[in-house]
Each structure stands twice: as C-alpha cells, then as structure tokens.
C-alpha cells in the first residue's frame, strides 16, 4: 500500500494497458505477424530515443541526431557500394557518426554554446554535407548478408535488431546508473557549476554524452539502412521530434538531472502500440499524430495531479501520526 509506484512503472502499466486494449479491440493486432512486425519496427526508433534521452539528462538536446544517423548510414553505404565488406562499412559508418558527435561535443563543451543552438546549426550543416555527398540521391544495393542485421532473426523468432536494442538498453542502463560517467551525467544535468567545483571535467563528460548519442544514432542507422536497403538524406528524419517526445513522456526532465532508460523505453512502446494499432484500425494517419500529442499531454497532466495528490497525503501523514 505504502509502496508508491514510480513514474516509470505507471508508464509501464499504461503501455501494457494500451497493448491489451489494442489486442482486444483491434483485430490482427495480436497476431504473430503483427507482433513480429512491431519487434522489427521498435529498435531503430528506440535507439534514437535513448540517445536523445542521454543528451536531455545533461539539460541539452540534440536536434542533429537524425542527420547524424543519416550521415552514418551514408558512410556505411558508400563503403559497401564501393566494394568494401560489411564490417569495414559498419566501422566507417560509426566513425562518421562519432565525428559528428565529436563536433557537437566540442562546440558544446569547449566553446560552451547552448546545445539547442549548436545542434540547430549542425542539423542544417550535416544535412548539407550529406546533400553535397549524395546530391540528394539514395544510395542502395548492399550485400544480402547486410540485410540480416535489420531483417534477420536470432533463433528463428527474435529479430536480431531487437537483440541489438536490448543490448543497448542494458548498456545504457548500466552506464547511467553504475558507471562514474553516468553519475557525473546526472550531476552535471542538475548543476554543472557544482560539478566543475567538485573536480569534474565537465567538457569530458559532455563530450562522451554527445559521442554516445551519436553512437546510438549510428547503430540505429545501421539497422535502418539494413532494413530499408538504402539510405537518403532524410533517413529517419521523422524520428527527431518523436524522440524528444518519447524521452519526456518517459519522465526525463527536460532541464536535466533526471531520466530513466525504462521510462523512455515504455514511452517508445506506447508510441509503437498506438501507431501500429491505429494503422491497423485504418485510422487516418494524421489522427495518429493527434493521439500521440494528446497522450503526451494527458499523461503529464495526470502526473501533475498525482504528484499533487501524493504530496498532500505526505504532508498530512506525519501530522496525524504526531
């Protein structure tokens, strides 16, 4: 009775509720083919949302993240279409992303420009670089083996890409909660002056944050390019605002200092179930946006009132006890 559910657990329950509701009321939602569909659709978005969350915990935001993904995809694609193997291609893709992340990181941490400004600029910049490289054309035609990353199964039922996501969920969780870097990320997000005065090298912490976010973007890009067998300047661009939405719906404090991996993942699941469910119902695509916008507001409004309610209760209890 006393054990109050955390914000994240409530969100988890909401996700389950939506899943059950959709299963009951949307035919074919709970069919094996649809479930496997969703398992394939989750990872690319989940990874970007995780990357966005890590940046938001520091009180920043990365508006360039989807273009980093696209750039990374272009890097990998260029390698493969020029006859290199899959592994070198993936490595180059990741390096491309890390270069972008490092650029963001340097401007944010060394020069001290607010992240929203930096990434607003680099978003246009990276897009420009991709356009300059590809002339806007899609690059496609990858080895068959490459398509296994995004389309293949492990042991016949679990998508490989889902396993990759799981791996990064666990990794991100461990890094944030158990590593000293993670601790510093949270502390920095709450008060960067105090961390500086505690001997923390803020610039290093931030640098790693932007590198990590770009790494997640790169992994997401590899899954996307493999799944879609092609890459273009707008690869994954629709995930940008969605990933911010998922992170904040997941409870991440937009001003920094708080954010949990599971919260974000639950939010990603909620988006997934709703999008998929409404598509299956044949709802107008625009309505999906409306519903997602509404959920964002409703859930946070609910949080507000439940906080208020529980605070009242907490304020009252000691008095009564006394």
């Amino acid at each position: 009775m006393n054990a109050k559910l955390s914000k994240e657990s409530i969100l988890g329950l909401i996700a389950i509720g939506i899943f059950v509701g959709m299963s009951l009321f949307t035919p074919r939602f709970f069919s094996s083919s649809n479930l496997s569909n969703m398992m394939f659709q989750l990872p690319e978005f989940g990874l970007i949302a995780l990357g966005m969350m890590v940046v938001i915990i520091t009180g920043g935001i990365d508006l360039s993240i989807t273009y980093i993904a696209a750039f990374s995809g272009v890097g990998a694609a260029l390698m493969m279409t020029n006859g290199f193997g899959i592994l070198p291609a993936i490595i180059v893709g990741i390096l491309f992303a890390l270069a972008c992340g490092a650029f963001n990181g340097i401007v944010v941490s060394r020069i001290g420009v607010p992240p929203i400004l930096v990434t607003l600029g680099t978003m246009v910049l990276f897009e420009g670089v991709i356009l300059a490289i590809t002339s806007g054309n899609a690059i496609s035609g990858f080895p068959d083996a490459y398509s296994l990353i995004g389309n293949g199964y492990y042991m016949g039922i679990i998508p490989l890409s889902l396993l990759i996501l799981l791996f990064f969920i666990i990794l991100t969780g461990i890094l944030l909660n158990k590593s000293t870097w993670g601790r510093r990320v949270y502390m920095y997000g709450s008060n960067d002056t105090a961390t500086l005065f505690s001997g923390v090298k803020n610039s290093k912490v931030l640098m790693k944050v932007y590198l990590y976010a770009s790494l997640l973007a790169a992994v997401s890009a590899i899954i996307m390019t493999s799944r879609y067998n092609s890459v273009k300047v707008d690869l994954g661009s629709s995930y940008l605002l969605q990933s911010v939405a998922a992170a904040v719906l997941g409870g991440t404090n937009i001003h920094g200092g708080y954010g949990k991996v599971m919260g974000t993942i639950y939010a990603v699941l909620i988006f997934q179930f709703i999008r998929n469910g409404l598509n299956l119902m044949g709802a107008h695509s625009s309505l999906v946006d409306v519903v997602i916008g509404a959920i964002l507001i409703v859930v946070l409004t609910f949080n507000f009132f439940s906080d208020k309610f529980s605070r009242k209760k907490a304020e009252n209890t000691p008095e009564k006890a006394a």
Partner: protein
C-alpha cells in the same frame, strides 16, 4: 495589544518527514529591532517564510499583524500589509536595472497594461539609495554589481516600500564592514521612524550592536525572548545550543614544519598580481581582506577553475601544472567554494551523490562500476563524524539547512583526502555551534598534515582559527602577520589600503566596538 506590530503564536510547520517549526512564538514591538537567532536548521528562515506567506503554517497557529488577523495567502498580501522581507538568498532580477529592481513589486496589483513611469521610478530609487548613502548608476543591470552591492539594493527596495516591518535574513553575510556600518545606521534611522525590524544573523556581536530584543529558536522550538539588557553573549549561546561554547583568539604559536605549498608570482590580469604565498606543514593560513579584493579569484586559480594564470606553484616540493579542477583534485587540492548552493552542492541530488562526487572514480569495483556499498558506508561515516542532520544519505541536499549543507560540502572534500584544502568563507551563514565544529575540524586536518588555507572576511574567525594571516587588497598582498601578534586595526588598515583614507573613519568604528565587547 497594540504595542506589538506582529504577534505569532503556536506556529508549527511540517515538511514531509521534518517538523521544522513546533509551536513557535514571535512577538515584535513597534519600532524595535528584534533579533531572531538559533543554530542552523533551527527554523528561522522557515518562520520568516511562514510570515511572508511563502509557506502556509500548519493549522492552529495565531498570526496577528497590527493587532488584526493577518490573512496572508501569498507573498503579495504580506507586502501590501506593510512587510518587506529580505531573504537569505536575495530576490533580485539580474537582467533588470537597479531602478527597476528597487521599484518592482510596487504595482503588482495594478492592471497589466499599466504604463511604467520611468521618471517616478528613478526618483523613488534615487531616494532610497540616497538614504543608504549609495551611488550606483540606476540604469546598470544588477548582474553587474558585486554581491555586497546587490545586498544593498535589496535593502533599498525594502526602504522604498515604506514598510512597517522589515525582515532581514542574514543581510550582513556578504557585506564588508563599511557596508555593515551603513546598514546599522539605516536600521537606527528606521527605528527612529517607528519601523520594526526583524534581524537574523549568526554574528552575535552585531546582534548586540543593533538589536533591542532576541527571540531564540532551537530545533524548531521556541526557547524564549530576551531583552538586550538581561542577557549577554555567553548566555545567548547557551540558550541557542543548550550548552556553553567558548570562542576566542588563537593565542598559541603553531609549530610550523617544512614548506607544504608555495605559489610564486601568481598573476591574473584584472584580478590579482604578483602573489607569493607559502604554507607550512601544521599551520592554518588565513587570507583576509575586503570583499572583492581578489581572494576568491586567487583560490579558484589555484584550483584550476580560473584559466590563463601566470606563475608557479609547488605542492610538497613538486611543481604543479594545473589547468582544470580535475587536475587540481588529482594533485590533492580541494576547494570549498563560498557559494554553497550553486557551487558547492548539486542541490537536487542526494547527499550521498554529493559526498562522493570528487572521488567517485576511486569507489569502483572490479567491473569498473560504482560500488554502492562502499559509497554508502563512506557517506554514513562522514555524516556521522560531521553530525549532519537529518542523517539521511538519500535525502536531496536542498532539504538541508544552510549549516548542514556546508557540512556536506566539507565532508565531500574530506572524503577526497586532500593534501591542501582551500576553504572560502567557511562559516558564512553558519551558526555558532556548527562554526566551532568546523573550526575544530580545520585544526584536526592541519594536525593530520593537511595544509589549510582559509579565506574569510570575518576577523574574529580569522583571529581565532588561523596561525598566520595574509591581507589582500585590490588584487595584491598588502601584508602578512602571525596571528599571535595580529591586531584588528592593523589588519583593517592593510585591507583598506589607500582607500581607507576617505572611509577609514567609517570602518574603524565596528572594530572599535568589537574590541569593547570582546
């Protein structure tokens, strides 16, 4: 009945888990200066916040203003009734001009589209500043002022309001003695005009200088109200802490050992120049001076926060090249900053996370992950040895009172086992009990071989704690002396330097009074 402007009785305030005020009483007469005193966390600020309408008290209290029930729902109600409150952490708008800051709040109840009359605003601000004998450009943004000037602006605002009751929560903690004296004069004038003042401070001497009566709180409970004539300093201390505390000048000459730390020709353009300084094993070196003399900048340069500094440093014979606070910590230097809330602590995070922040890298297990048990034990240990209250490591730091927050900051650096600790205004806003504890702690550290440099503007503290004193003035070392031979007048003269020629008279007076009282 009507002799009281303010009557508060049976006031209680419960925060989740903490009873900050328990059946407290505060009665203030018209035209008196009423001191509110108590240890850190005694509930002074909380009582003021209840008075001001920021916190609602628990039910059952009595709160009368000018003999009538004060029905105060929000801060504005208190203002309209004629109360002005100067909060411990100031309430200024850094992005607005001096004039706007003084004027703001006057017309909060007016229609939003009311046109601002810049002329009358400036007139009013000028008048208030003139009363404080201050000469500041009215168009200057407040963020460009020193902390002391900001404090004065806050006082000017209260004056401009023509309030009947002015509350000052530790107004002097960041003022230089010249400014403190100005403030005393203002308070005297207010009294003449029949305005009541509630004054909160940990500096007992100044309380005796300004106050007519004292109300003492201890652990959220009301201890009593005393007339200035019926009690002395020791008596008050006893009431506050429930025991006797001795607080006197350091008379012993420390046996100093070999050189521990040394800096030579330290310069930073626009901050300080040609600083040479040596710290020996076993001594506490105090750096004093007026506010703004460059002490903090010097400390932050040693600690690697301030960049582009010329000069050399040696610690235990090794030359140090420090380019960041990280380097400094690695080399064994610790710095307790003066701004506890913004620089010292991450307020939204737990005590445990704060305590272990500088050393978190050393608390890793074999997997290179944070070892929570070790972390918890370490924190518990320091909470216990520093007597942090409440002793809950998971509590977020913003829930602690000022003094306890300071203990956490010190604990954080103790855990880092530094070779050199620089502590900036260590007892700013800290009660006398905690203060002596901190002083003892500094001594203990020195005895254990840690070098301690203490920056302080409070002369009694400097004199009682340090072994040697450096006086800084306008970015240079103006003089040096051993504490045993030190004399307050001499220190003030060095600190004031040639500026002292004009203002010397003003500033000597408080020291004079100090002497009489000691």
């Amino acid at each position: 009945m009507s002799e009281y402007i303010l009557e508060m009785e049976h006031i209680s305030k419960t925060f989740p888990g903490v009873k900050a005020l328990d059946n407290v009483e505060l009665k203030v007469q018209k035209g008196e200066v009423h001191a509110l005193i108590g240890e850190n966390g005694a509930g002074k600020s909380t009582l003021i916040k209840v008075l001001a309408g920021i916190h609602g008290a628990d039910e059952g209290g009595k709160y009368l203003f000018e003999g009538e029930k004060a029905d105060i729902q929000e801060p504005m109600d208190a203002t309209l009734k004629g109360m002005s409150i100067i909060y411990q952490d100031l309430s200024l708008f850094p992005n607005l001009s001096v004039a706007e800051n003084i004027y703001i709040g006057r017309d909060s109840k007016k229609k939003p589209w009311t046109k601002i009359n810049w002329k009358s605003m400036k007139k009013l601000a000028n008048k208030a500043l003139a009363e404080l004998d201050m000469d500041i450009d009215l168009n200057k943004k407040v963020e460009l002022l020193s902390i002391a000037q900001q404090q004065m602006i806050e006082i000017a605002r209260a004056l401009a309001f023509d309030s009947k009751l002015i509350v000052m929560d530790e107004p002097t903690s960041s003022l230089s003695s010249g400014e403190v004296e100005k403030l005393y004069n203002v308070i005297d004038k207010l009294k003449e005009r029949g305005i009541s003042v509630i004054f909160i401070s940990h500096k007992l001497k100044e309380l005796f200088r300004v106050s007519d009566r004292f109300t003492v709180l201890r652990d959220g409970q009301y201890v009593g109200t005393y007339d200035v004539n019926e009690i002395d300093e020791q008596g008050l201390i006893k009431k506050m802490v429930g025991r006797e505390v001795v607080y006197e000048t350091n008379k012993e000459k420390a046996e100093t050992g070999e050189k521990l730390f040394e800096i030579s020709s330290f310069s930073k353009e626009g901050n300080f120049k040609d600083i040479d300084l040596t710290l020996h094993r076993g001594e506490i070196l105090a750096i004093t001076g007026l506010v703004g003399s460059g002490r903090t900048e010097l400390a932050q340069s040693i600690f690697g926060i301030t960049k582009n500094v010329q000069g050399e440093m040696w610690l235990k014979g090794e030359e140090l090249k420090i380019s960041s606070s990280e380097d400094a910590v690695k080399k064994g230097i610790a710095y307790v900053p003066e701004a506890r809330q913004t620089q010292g602590l991450v307020l939204e995070q737990s005590v445990i996370n704060n305590m272990t922040l500088p050393i978190i890298d050393t608390l890793r297990n074999k997997l290179k992950l944070i070892d929570r048990n070790v972390e918890k034990n370490l924190t518990d240990q320091y909470i216990k040895s520093l007597d942090v209250r409440p002793a809950i490591p998971e509590l977020t730091a913003d829930k602690l009172s000022g003094g306890n927050q300071q203990k956490v900051v010190i604990g954080k650096w103790l855990s880092a086992q530094p070779k050199l600790l620089i502590i900036d205004e260590p007892t700013n806003g800290i009660d006398i009990g905690a203060k002596t504890e901190i002083h003892k702690l500094l001594r203990r550290m020195v005895n254990e071989g840690i070098g301690v440099i203490m920056i302080s503007s409070e002369l009694p503290e400097v004199l009682s704690v340090s072994d040697r004193i450096l006086v800084m003035s306008r970015g240079r070392i103006a003089g040096e002396m051993n504490t045993v031979d030190a004399d307050q007048e001499e220190i003030m003269k060095l600190a004031l330097d040639n500026e002292g020629i004009e203002s010397g008279n003003d500033t000597k007076t408080p020291n004079g009074t100090h002497h009489q009282e000691v």
